[in-house]
Structures are given as structure tokens and as C-alpha cells.
Symmetry: C2
Subunit: 219 residues, 2 copies
DNA sequence: GAAAATCTGGACAGAAGTGTCCAGAATTTG
DNA sequence: CAAATTCTGGACACTTCTGTCCAGATTTTC
């Protein structure tokens, strides 16, 4: 049975991707220090020896995790920032959509890496570089809507760090639930009158995450 | 020599506070998982046995660290939010001063606890409670300057999470260095014309952290 | 200054993790 | 289907950390 990779005998087969997926899960939920060969092998129901076929050692796995992060989140956010939109409001809504959409951007992974960076110089450098690139892309986005350079940079910082801080604090909400508040912030982010059309579009997009209570208020 | 607690013999005496201080340092710089009895004893130049005189086990130490955090940062921020100021701008400047002033508020500790909360339900609950209290205090602060309730709450979130995200991202700057940018954000935070007097006061306060380059620009 | 209370060092037992080696199971190739 | 390749299980050696016990050093008390 080579198809499903799970033959009948006592030997259970796993792929390199299985190890990576398990490591990613533990990294996000429990932090780097908990990404251990022993723990992962238990999760996968396989012996530790298998791990050393796919990876030289634990550090190789950690390096692979960092690579994975670099090739996903940062690329997605920058691509979104560079996508043209009709108004600033619309552009900001799109950035919000991107960060909330777990297909494109894994918020939890981003924070796990941020934690990790506090303990590893290598990760710290990778993160600093990514932050700088993301900020530059966002500043450039504001620039396209005729904000002066210094204001564009300031607003990029507000938008980016606000997003970060928001998710970091968590407050028991999921990223989707937090979207409820996003429309309220749009004017704060732009410093201009909101674009009603973009606002309505965003409201429609985020509506799928809302539920209405008895008074009709968003909850 | 009971005074300095460092007698001549091979026995080196440490206090419970020494253990706590060492643990705090490791918690901030390396994360909870690195707060180990063995590591701390090495830092203090004392044997592990001493630790078990002051603490029942490792978990007791961690509990003490959480207590310490609860009795410092949250109290300081709330007290500052409740202190009257002439204008919103001035009030926000004071909050900034409080968070930056390491005597009152240990930013690094706050983030270490935030990391920790991702791995411990007990810490998670303590953090959620503190965040809610801090946010409520900040919203109340905006309320005193005649913002409608919903806007006051939104602005409290922007201010609080912005501060958090700002520090989290770090970007190689110290909290003090980051103060340079604060005046640029004041209008974003208030949505009103800045109070020039408060602004000037804040500028003077933060000036001590600036250095001027050859062109006279803040660096 | 002797007795009592405090505190530390060192030895011991054990849990948990890493990395290596190699027989041999499972799969693919010829 | 036999041979070659790919991958896993189990045993071994080693390291790091936790927690316990207790003799005895140090300080405090009377």
C-alpha cells in the first residue's frame, strides 16, 4: 500500500512533511523549546530513529521551520500590500483580509516565530528583516494614496503594529472575531473620511464571521 | 558578617530575593522554559539544594514570578491612566511616560509573561484579566475627555495594543529610543488637534533619550 | 560561648532528552 | 521474484535537569 503510506505491519511510515507539520503544531501551541524529537515521535506514533532519517538533528528541523515561515507569511503580506485598490480604506481592508485569512497568513505562526526570536539571534535577524520589508511595503502602499513620506511611514507603523499587538493580546478572541472591530478603526488608520463603498464591501466580507444577538448587535 | 550575607567561608549565602531576581532575569531574556533550578544556581554560584530551602519546587518559583508581575505592571499602568491631566494629549503622553519608565513598568517583563501565557492556562487567565483591567482604565481615561463610549473604547484599544505591538516588534530599538516617534502618533491617537503645551512638555521629557546627528535630526 | 535555628554542599536516584548503530521490515527496481 | 533501496524499531551511551536526604557549616539566640 504505497498510496496512503500507512501499511499493515507494525512499521508505521511517515513523511518528512509529517514531521514538519507536527513540529509546526508544537511550535505554535507550545513554543520552540517544546519542539523535541521525542515529543514529535510520540505525536506521530513512530520511533525517534525515523526522525534522523529525514533530518540530521533537531537544529535542522528548527531551520526548516524558519524557512517555512519565511516563505509564507511575509510573502503574502507584501503581495497584498502591493495589490492596487481604489482607495486607502479599501487597501487597508485588503490587508486586514489577508492577515485574517489563514490560507494566506498564519497569524499564530507569526507570533510563535516572534517568541522564538527572543531566544535565538538567527531568528531575531530573520524577523527584523521581515518586519522591515513588511513595513516598507505598507509605507509604499500609503504613499500611493498621496500621503507624504513621513506620514505614510507613521501610518504604516500604526497599521502594522496595531495588527500585531491586537493579535498578541488575543483577549480570548479569534482573529475572525476581531474583525468585528475593524470597521471602527478604519478612520483611525487613514485619518480621512472613510470610503463608504470599500467599507460596505469589507462589512459584507466580515459578516460571515459575525453572529447577531437578540438586539441585532454584532457579537 | 551577617550584614552583606557574603561570609568568608566556602558557603555563599543567598536570599529568596536573589533567587527571584535571577529567575526574573532568565524569564525575561530566555523564556520560562529556561527558568531552571540548575541554571539559576549556577548564576548565583550556589548549589541547587539552597533553592529547595526557599521554594518547595520549581513551580513555586514560577508562581512567585507571576505574583510579582501582577503586583507591578498592571497597578502602575492603571494608576497612571487614572491620574488627571489637562488634555487628552497630555494624558496619553503620561501613559507613554509610564510605560517607558522602567521604574514603574517593566516592558520586557510584560512581554515575557505574554509569551509564558501561550503555554500556561493559569498565566493566560491572569493576563486576560490584567488586559481587561488596563483597557477599561484607558477607556475611562478617554471618557473623561468627552469621547463617546464606543470611540473611547476603540481608542483605548488602539493606544494599548499599539504600545504592545510596538514593543513586541522591537525592531532593534529600546523603549526609550522609540519615544522619538511618539509625538508623531499623538494626533493619530487622539483624532484631535494636538495640545501644543502637552506636546512641548513631552518633547522635553523625551529629549533626554535623543541624540542629534550632524544635520540636527533626531536619531 | 554553648545551644538552637538557619542555610548550603555533595551524594544519590530517577526522569527526560539527544544522537548513534545496525538488524531487519517494507517498498521499489530490474 | 530476487535484489537493491528506503525507512523504522530497539538497544546503547551520554547529557541535563529535578527532587530528596542529611551531615555539617554559619548565624542567631539565650
Amino acid at each position: 500500500m504505497p498510496e496512503d503510506g500507512k501499511p499493515l505491519g507494525g512499521h508505521i511510515k511517515v513523511t518528512r512533511e509529517d514531521w514538519l507539520a507536527a513540529a509546526l503544531h508544537v511550535l505554535i501551541h507550545d513554543g520552540v523549546d517544546q519542539v523535541k524529537v521525542l515529543t514529535l515521535s510520540a505525536r506521530l506514533g513512530v520511533s525517534r530513529s525515523s526522525f534522523y532519517w529525514y533530518f540530521g538533528n533537531r537544529q535542522d528541523l528548527l531551520d526548516a521551520l524558519l524557512d517555512h515561515w519565511q516563505n509564507t507569511n511575509t510573502a503574502a503580506l507584501i503581495a497584498q500590500a502591493e495589490t492596487p485598490a481604489r482607495t486607502v480604506t479599501a487597501a487597508i481592508c485588503n490587508v486586514h483580509k489577508c492577515v485574517v485569512n489563514t490560507e494566506l497568513f498564519d497569524t499564530a505562526l507569526d507570533f510563535a516565530v516572534r517568541d522564538w526570536a527572543r531566544r535565538s539571534d538567527k531568528v531575531r535577524r530573520a524577523l527584523d528583516l521581515s518586519d522591515a520589508r513588511r513595513l516598507a511595503a505598507l509605507a509604499e502602499m500609503f504613499r500611493r494614496y498621496d500621503y507624504p513620506r513621513s506620514e505614510a511611514e507613521a501610518r504604516a507603523r500604526v497599521l502594522y503594529f496595531m495588527q500585531i499587538g491586537y493579535d498578541l493580546a488575543q483577549l480570548g478572541e479569534t482573529p475572525q472575531q476581531r474583525l468585528r472591530f475593524a470597521p471602527d478603526y478604519l478612520q483611525v488608520f487613514t485619518g480621512r473620511d472613510p470610503d463608504p463603498e470599500a467599507l460596505e464591501d469589507f462589512r459584507a466580507y466580515t459578516a460571515q464571521y459575525w453572529t447577531l444577538d437578540e438586539d441585532g448587535a454584532r457579537t
